[in-house]
Structure formats: structure tokens, C-alpha cells
């Protein structure tokens, strides 16, 4: 380990030395229809530096990364590498300039060995053009050793743990002569011990002169690994600070800003009888000991950073992947929820996070989608479809939810994002659902529709529907919830009533510590 420390200190020396930045981004702006994602953002990356990029969801981190990696062009501003202005037309362009992104898993080849993954597409060959397997394994072993990794280059990548896969990807980038590496939420799926070894590896990589753009929600990690931190908020740069000169609360304050703009929930509904209780439920390694209860007319916010186990919680509650431990009680009866079909029968409804892929059948009309969860309501004798009933019920929900345009016969794919989301909501109201689970209901929805959805949720709570609101957006959670569960690493880190919850508290619980 002594060597690693020495290398680390030399890396710090390099940073402090007055070197030319490897990457400079000046005045980068980017807008999408209806959203100004980035507004004149400056960013620079020194050789051998770990520069962290933080901000809440929607602050513009992802957009900035996509511009650096060539996936999106910028509307304005310029990018310089080693002082030369460059233009990227595709991710391949960016790769050619040594900029590589490490993705979670979808860039690896599970049936091939570690060594082959490292050299995928450019296996070492002998002079005769034949693949030099000995050299392949030896070089892979050498690379792995030089980064202090105890991995056998012969192992099939499909058999590795997520952390090891991530490391293989990093090694691959190093071997492909990456000068700038983008790590996007690299620790999302890792345990504490694995994070330690990943960091050790990152230090080795940086010691070799590679610059790393590090994106994470987890502030304590950032303080451990990063040299500098740039904070983004609402598409603007708030500031760049040295990681060791700033404390966590200060960072959180920079991320959150002074005022919270989300609408505050107007009314407080006195919750009714308990409708759902989860007792120590768990699912393999992803979810542990989840205990909570939910009452009629209550909005339960579930907050957590990306990959804290919210997705798994939804899957378990809605029967997509049934729980393997613990008990679920609905209306005082213990139930085993084995499939979404069963969950629907028990009165559950799910507004999924990816509206287009998971929520709507695009080739059907809005009316058909609105009535899909309970088609027997629009049929004679529970068999034959009645176009009149379908039309009238469709109209009822289009009118009640104020879906525009008021044309239920139109295919649902021609509606805007907010209106599509209302169609998904309407589907469950039509089925008379008792427990509504919402997964990031306002993602990709413009501000006006966002507020409409919020007031709809209030109305639903008044109508004694129990709501589980899963979101990574703090203002939304704070504004809408009666009670808040904070998740971290697949467990519940805290349960807070609305009065006690603040931005800082929630973030602190979600990022660990305290």
C-alpha cells in the first residue's frame, strides 16, 4: 500500500503544480424543448485530477457529461483539449480524443474472459496476425497488478460481482489510453468494502496521469476521493471548491440553494385506517428489513439517492419480483404479492418511472389506455366492449383530470408528457385503486403540468387513496409528503414526519453518516 500512497501524493503535487488544464469547457449551454438544461457553464479538468460534479437531479450533470462524451452537441460554448478546440459528432469521436465513459454494465461482454473484455475489439496479435493469447493474458495480468487488483484474467466477466465488473471497465479504459475518464455514479451498486477497493484503484489510475470526472450523489465519498468539486444547480454553475476545504453541509447548501420553489401542500388530510403494512421485507441482497405502514389518505414520500433500493421496493410491493423475506399486510390480511395482476386485485396501482416504455400502450387511444386496467367496466356482461361506455368513461377522466386535448379517440402517443402522465394516473383511478405507487411522477414533465399533478395528488389523498411517492427530487418529496422514508443501501435509514424534515436532514440521512 506504501506505493499507492506515494503515488497519491505525487498526484496531488501534480495538481498543485501550475499545469495546463487537460480539458476546458467554456460557456456551455444546452436547451431541450421546454427546458434550459445548461446555461453558460464553465468547467475544467487538470491532468491527474479527480474532479467531482455534484448537484440535485435535473441540475444538469447528465447533460454536461453527455456533451463531454460526444452523445449530445452543445448549443453554445467551446471545448478545448490540451488547448486545442475540438468538436465531437459522436461518442466515437470523443473516444478518439481519449475521453471514455465507464458505464455500469452494458458495455461489457459477459461470456468473455476478463482479459478479452479489457482488449475487446483490439486483441494483441503476433506479427502473423494471429491473436497472441499469452500476451493477452500476461498484459491483462500486468495491468490488473499495476492497479492492485486481485482478479484472474481468465475469469468469465459474467461471473464477477458488480464492483469487479466496474473495475474491468476502468482497466479497459486505461489500456485504451484514456486521458479523461468519466465515472457516472460508480458506487451506486457497491458495498462499503468494494467502494474502498474501487477508490484504491482510482488513486492508482490518477497516479498514472489520467484525469477523472467523477459524478456522484454521495458527498462523503466525494470528499474522500475528489480533489475539486463543482456544484451545479438548475443548469448553472454555483461554484468550484477544493474538496478538502469545504464541509458537507456547505456543499449541501450550495446544491439546494436558499429557497425551495416547489408548491407546498395546501391541506392536511387526517389519515384513516391502516391499509398497508410491511414488516421486515427483503429481497436477495438488494433490499433488507423494510418496515413501514401506510394509512388511507396519506402521502408517504420515499426518498433516496439513485440506486438506494427504491426500485426494488416498488418491484416487491407491486409483485414484479416477489419478496423473499418478511410479511406484507393489506387491510389487516397477510398477503403474498406474486404478480402485478395480484397487486391490482389487492387495490394497488403503479405509475411507473418510464412512462413510454412501462406505462402506456402507444398504439392504443387515450380512452383505451384510460380504461385498460379494468376493461370489465366498459363491457356488457363483462365480455363485449361497449364503445359508448368506453367513450363516456374516457371522457369522465379526461374531464376530471383536465387532459388536453379533450379528444380521447386520439392515439396516446400524440399527447404531451404531462397529459400522458395523467392518462396513466387516470387508468388507476378508473380501476378504483386504494394504494397508488408513483415512481418519479413528474420526470420529463413541464412545470405547469407538474403543479397540476401535485394538486391532483392532493385531491386523491382527500379521496382517501393512500399514496407512496418515490422520488429522488427533494423539493417534491418535501412538499408533498405527510411522512418521509429515507432509503440508503437497500434499507430504511430514517423515517421522518413532515414537520421534522428538512433538505439538509434528508440529504444527510441519504448520503450516510450522522
Amino acid at each position: 500500500m506504501g506505493q499507492a500512497e506515494r503515488l497519491e501524493s505525487s498526484a496531488k503535487l501534480q495538481v498543485t503544480g501550475a499545469t495546463q488544464p487537460r480539458l476546458v469547457m467554456e460557456g456551455i449551454s444546452k436547451s431541450f424543448p421546454g427546458v434550459q438544461a445548461l446555461c453558460a457553464v464553465d468547467f475544467d479538468l487538470l491532468p491527474g485530477e479527480v474532479h467531482a460534479l455534484v448537484g440535485q437531479n435535473g441540475a444538469g450533470k447528465t447533460t454536461l457529461v453527455k456533451i463531454v462524451s460526444g452523445a449530445h452537441p452543445a448549443d453554445a460554448g467551446r471545448i478545448l483539449i490540451e488547448g486545442q478546440e475540438v468538436r465531437f459528432h459522436s461518442p466515437a469521436d470523443a473516444r478518439r480524443h481519449g475521453i471514455m465513459t465507464v458505464h455500469q454494465d452494458w458495455n461489457l461482454f459477459p461470456d468473455l474472459s476478463v482479459a478479452e473484455n479489457i482488449f475487446a475489439g483490439r486483441m494483441p496479435i503476433k506479427a502473423s496476425g494471429i491473436i497472441d493469447w499469452d500476451r493477452c493474458y500476461e498484459e491483462a495480468a500486468r495491468e490488473l497488478r499495476s492497479l492492485n487488483l486481485e482478479l484472474d484474467p481468465h475469469t468469465r466477466v459474467g461471473l464477477l460481482r458488480p464492483a469487479q465488473m466496474q473495475m474491468v471497465e476502468i482497466v479497459r479504459c486505461v489500456c485504451a489510453n484514456a486521458s479523461i475518464m468519466i465515472l457516472d455514479e460508480p458506487t451506486a451498486a457497491l458495498g462499503p468494502h468494494e467502494i474502498e477497493s474501487l477508490f484504491a484503484m482510482i488513486r492508482c489510475v490518477v497516479a498514472g496521469g489520467v484525469s477523472i470526472l467523477y459524478i456522484s450523489h454521495k458527498l462523503e465519498e466525494i470528499q474522500e476521493i475528489a480533489d475539486r468539486v463543482t456544484v451545479l444547480r438548475d443548469g448553472r454553475k454555483v461554484g468550484t471548491v477544493r474538496a478538502n476545504e469545504v464541509d458537507r453541509l456547505e456543499l449541501i447548501r450550495m446544491m439546494v440553494g436558499r429557497e425551495v420553489e416547489a408548491p407546498q401542500k395546501q391541506t392536511v388530510v387526517t389519515p384513516g385506517a391502516e391499509i398497508l403494512r410491511a414488516n421486515r421485507i427483503g429481497k436477495s441482497k438488494a433490499l433488507h428489513d423494510i418496515t413501514f405502514s401506510l394509512r388511507e389518505g396519506e402521502i408517504l414520500g420515499v426518498f433516496g439517492l439513485l440506486g438506494a433500493g427504491q426500485k426494488q421496493l416498488i418491484d416487491v410491493l407491486y409483485g414484479i419480483t416477489p419478496a423473499d423475506r418478511g410479511e406484507i399486510w393489506v387491510n389487516g390480511n397477510q398477503v403474498r404479492i406474486q404478480s402485478p395482476e395480484m397487486a391490482k386485485r389487492l387495490g394497488f396501482g403503479l405509475v411507473p418511472g418510464d412512462r413510454k416504455r412501462e406505462g402506456l400502450v402507444q398504439i392504443l387511444s387515450a380512452n383505451a389506455n384510460l380504461t385498460l386496467a379494468n376493461t370489465s367496466l366498459i363491457s356488457f356482461a363483462k365480455l363485449l366492449l361497449s364503445p359508448r361506455k368506453e367513450y363516456e368513461q374516457g371522457w369522465h377522466w379526461i374531464n376530471s383530470l383536465d387532459i388536453r386535448p379533450k379528444d380521447g379517440g386520439r392515439l396516446v402517443k400524440y399527447f404531451s408528457g404531462g397529459n400522458q402522465q395523467k392518462v396513466v394516473l387516470g387508468k388507476w383511478l378508473q380501476n378504483n385503486c386504494k394504494v397508488l405507487i408513483l415512481d418519479h411522477p413528474t420526470q420529463g414533465v413541464d412545470v405547469g403540468a407538474k403543479n397540476e399533478i401535485y394538486s391532483l395528488l392532493e385531491e386523491l389523498a382527500k379521496a382517501r387513496i393512500a399514496i407512496i411517492l418515490v422520488s429522488t427530487e427533494l423539493p417534491e418529496i418535501l412538499a408533498m409528503s405527510d411522512r418521509i422514508l429515507v432509503m440508503r443501501n437497500g434499507t430504511i435509514a430514517a423515517e421522518l414526519p413532515r414537520q421534522e424534515a428538512t433538505n439538509e436532514k434528508l440529504l444527510a440521512y441519504a448520503t450516510g453518516g450522522n
Binding site: N107, D111, A120, G121, I131
Partner: protein, 331 residues
Amino acid sequence: MVRAIARRQVWVSWRDSSAFGVTIALVILFVIFSILHPSFLTPRNLWNLAISISTLGLTAAGVTLILLVGMLDVSTEAVLATSSVVLAFLITTIGLPPLVGIVGAIAVGCGIGVINGLISVRFRINPIITTLATLAIFTGVAQFASGMKQIVIDAPRGSLLWTFGFGSLFGIPVQVLVVVFVYVLLWFVLRYTRFGRNIYVVGGNPQGANLIGLNVAKYRFIAFVIMGATAGIASVLISARALNGWAGAGQGYLFGAITAVVLGGTSLTGGRGGAWETLLAVLLLGTLTNGLNLLQVHPYWQGVASGALLLLAVSVELLRNRYLRRRLEEE
């Protein structure tokens, strides 16, 4: 030490692969058949066995490649038919030398592969639909051109075509040598060339392959062409043995080939499998047929059994994957 690890790895990966089961099944079959029938282990029968699997083996080699890149080609029987008729047409009807006929037959196979590849890859039509259509078209072409008759090829003893059908070299039938050559080539390409490794990369994760700058479409296209070429060679072997060109030459081969490849553990979704695994499975199928024939089990029963065998092979593959995934999750 690296060598020792390598040796252990080879053993582990072999034990975990379907080839392990196939080998054991093969050994068991050999033992059973040699006990049940005295003439099973005679050189004469083994010679017959080797020749009987050569066409299936060649076809299966092409199917292995096409499944490795994650595509499927069901037009193989049409390629066999068309190439066989073209071979006879060139040699018998026009009177060209056998070599030209052989080259022509293989070229026809490649040509159909090019058509399949262009339509499936360039126009992104589901490969099953594409090859289903070309199956009909080229079966029709072969039947039309031959007038549904077997065109006799006159190949005197010692001529090139005769050698392909009946000749032997160092006591090994030429047909077997061709198959062994093709498999060694396939194995070599898949294992020792960048092209071969990229086949696995493209089949295993097309998105990822695209990200590291590989042209996925190109590899898929080439796989279709090679599939056509191996079927062309297979048809030369069939025609040389039957000494005729016939539109019915290919019947049943696609089914056998797919069964063999799946039995050998090549995954239907691409990226996993290999030449030796397929060859072992071809041997297993051939041994089974040969033994059952010796025991005078009716071919119709064998047909039913082969369907059941394919189902069994896919199911086992499915269960194995589930088991591996569960083991992975538990770790």
C-alpha cells in the same frame, strides 16, 4: 503459475459448458451401442458413421457462426437444394469440368447468403422472415430448374467429384477430411483472429460492440455469407455422394443442424458457443442415428425423438442459465 491457473480455468469452463454433458452422453452411447450390437464398433460401421455426419457437420458449422452473431437462418435447405441442382446443371447439362461445377455451387451458396444478409441487416427485416421467404424462393428455383427430377452426374472413378464422394486419403474418407478441415478453420478463426473474437463481442452485446467502434452490421452480414458458403460446400458433398443434383437434397438438414448447435450449448441470443462444442454434438446426433439404425429402430420414431431431443436441449440450456444466474445472485 499463470499456466497452472490457465489449466484450471480450462477445466472449470469445460465442466461448466454444455460440451461436458455432450461428451459424457457420447461416451455412454458408445458403450451402450457396442454392448447392444456387435457390429457397432467395427471399422466399417465407424467409417459409415463418419461419412453420415459430414453434411450435417458442415451445415452445423455455418449455423454455429450465425447464432454466435445473434441471427438465425432457416433458408439452409434451399441453399443445399439450389447448389446441388446448379452443380449438376453445370457439369451434366452444360458439360463444364467438375471443378467449375464445385466452385459454382459454392458461389451460389455465397450468393444466397449475400441476399439474406443484405435484406436482414441492411433493411433490418427480422432474419427469420427474410430467410423463410428465401427458403421458399430458392426451393422453388431449385425445383423449377431441375423439373423436380434428379439430374444424374456422371463422375467416373477417380475424377474430382468422385473423390469428394467416395475417395479417401490415408484411409480417411475425403468427406470427413473436408469436415475436419472446416471445423479446424472455424475453430482457428474464432479463437485466433480478431475477426473471430469480434464475432463473440458483436453477438454478446451489440450495443457495447458499437460503443467500442465495431461495425455490427458488417459482422452479421459476413456471418450470413459464410453460412451460405458452408451450405454450398455441404451440397457438393451430398451431390458427390449421391452422384446427382436434386432439389430434395437438403431435406431435414436445417433441423438436425439447429438441434446439434443448440445441443452444443451455443446460445440462441448470440455470443456464446464454439466449433468444438458443435462438432461434439454433431457426433452425438450421428452416433444416435447410426446406433438406432443398427438396432432397427424405425426412422419415424427417430424423427419424433429428434424433435423431443431439441426440446430437451433447449430446456436444459434454459435451466442451466437459470442455475448460473441464481448462483451468481447468491454469491
